[in-house]
Symmetry: C2
Subunit: 242 residues, 2 copies
């Protein structure tokens, strides 16, 4: 079973303080870029893998989706998600993405945001997702960027001329990385971008768009801390079709 850091109280409490937790999708700077990659959701069947508080599930229903399922490994996350809606078109289920079984051709969109870097191997899940999509159905995912995940110890350094750089090392040494994001010892998996894209293609997907997300000038003006996302990408957004 996957590490379930979200049920760690310190992590859960820290997560609750993030802008994307407090303000939902509008607190996630990459949301406009994700929206540009989503298909029209009217009357669609949607599943969100790693749904957290359910912000995307509620958004999909607001955009006209017929039925939305949110799956998460964390009971705490699902409890909060259930508190936030009484919409009968949304249902939440406990599930481990490492061993997820999905019905055949049951969805038009599979969505997964900042979750796949917790999985040691993408192939089983991508195979499950592919068979669960209608032909022509979409997978839209975001995951931590390998430039961000690769270093054995993540961090910036500043050279003698004041240029800030992200220290990239061990890019081709894929596998476990321990970070101390919100709590100590958070286990994630580093994969090259090629590995992720090739896994999608091997599972039968046609790639449609790859966005190594960076902030706009307007976003940096509003939130100066985002400027560091120009120096190196922290996440990558991918859309693909069955």
């Amino acid at each position: 079973m996957s590490q379930n850091i979200y049920d760690n109280q310190a992590f859960f409490d820290g997560y609750a303080q993030l802008p994307r937790s407090q303000f939902g999708l509008d607190g996630a700077p990459e949301w406009a870029s994700i929206q540009a990659m989503l298909p029209d959701l009217a009357d669609k069947r949607v599943i969100d893998l790693g749904c957290g508080y359910g912000w995307f599930c509620r958004s999909a229903r607001a955009a006209g989706a017929a039925e939305v399922i949110g799956v998460d490994l964390s009971e705490k996350m699902l409890a909060r998600a259930r508190e936030l809606t009484d919409d009968p078109g949304i249902s939440y289920r406990l599930g481990d993405l490492e061993q997820l079984a999905l019905p055949s051709q049951a969805f038009d969109l599979v969505y997964s945001s900042l979750t796949l870097h917790y999985l040691p191997d993408l192939a089983p899940l991508l195979t499950a997702i592919h068979q669960a999509l209608q032909p022509g159905g979409w997978l839209v995912l975001t995951t931590e960027h390998p430039i961000y995940t690769c270093p054995v110890r993540q961090g910036w350094f500043t050279d003698s001329e004041g240029q800030r750089s992200w220290a990239v090392n061990n890019y081709h040494n894929e596998g476990q990385r321990l970070s101390n994001w919100l709590a100590d010892g958070v286990l994630k998996y580093h994969r090259t971008l090629g590995t992720t894209l090739n896994a999608l293609m091997a599972a039968g997907f046609a790639l449609r768009h790859v966005d190594e997300w960076g902030p706009s000038v307007e976003q940096i003006a509003a939130t100066p801390a985002l400027a560091e996302e120009v120096e190196r990408p922290m996440m990558v957004l991918v859309s693909a079709q069955r």
Copy 2:
């Protein structure tokens, strides 16, 4: 017209000393990975964009290609390529990839190795390549990796614990980069990997494989200097089909 650094005598002389110049494809550590991405070349029509000394053109003929064309911007490179073969199935042409016109559906494989990072914009060339391929035909390309090209000044640094890292900055600031590789003031263009992949898809290509090349254990044992390619990729190999 593109910068033609290869006709600079200092650059040309330096280039002539590289293992990949002296020993051809066997001197290029990524060659085995490229071969794994190539289609069967028997009886195929092939064009190499940025052919240099013509190593790939001769290899394609040896692999059974019916006809091979090599295109390069450098008269010096083409003169050397012509010295190295009298095969009537290979022809060499002077051409600028920034304004290349190609006949319709005339090729089964378009190949381009470590050339596209000299171009300010990929879209016109990719459109020209797409229409020049047979349906089902292949484009196999290699280009400098954006992790390698992004910094305003390329280089390594070593932290207090001896970990060597590549300094990544300005990843999302696409455009010109000046390097001093073999000669001063070599002009290249930095693009994110997403930009390159999206340009391929926008031109009509289906992506087939993305390899951010890294060395094998055996290659590092034979050539210890390759170990740094584990820390950060220097090039990316992409195959795509019309």
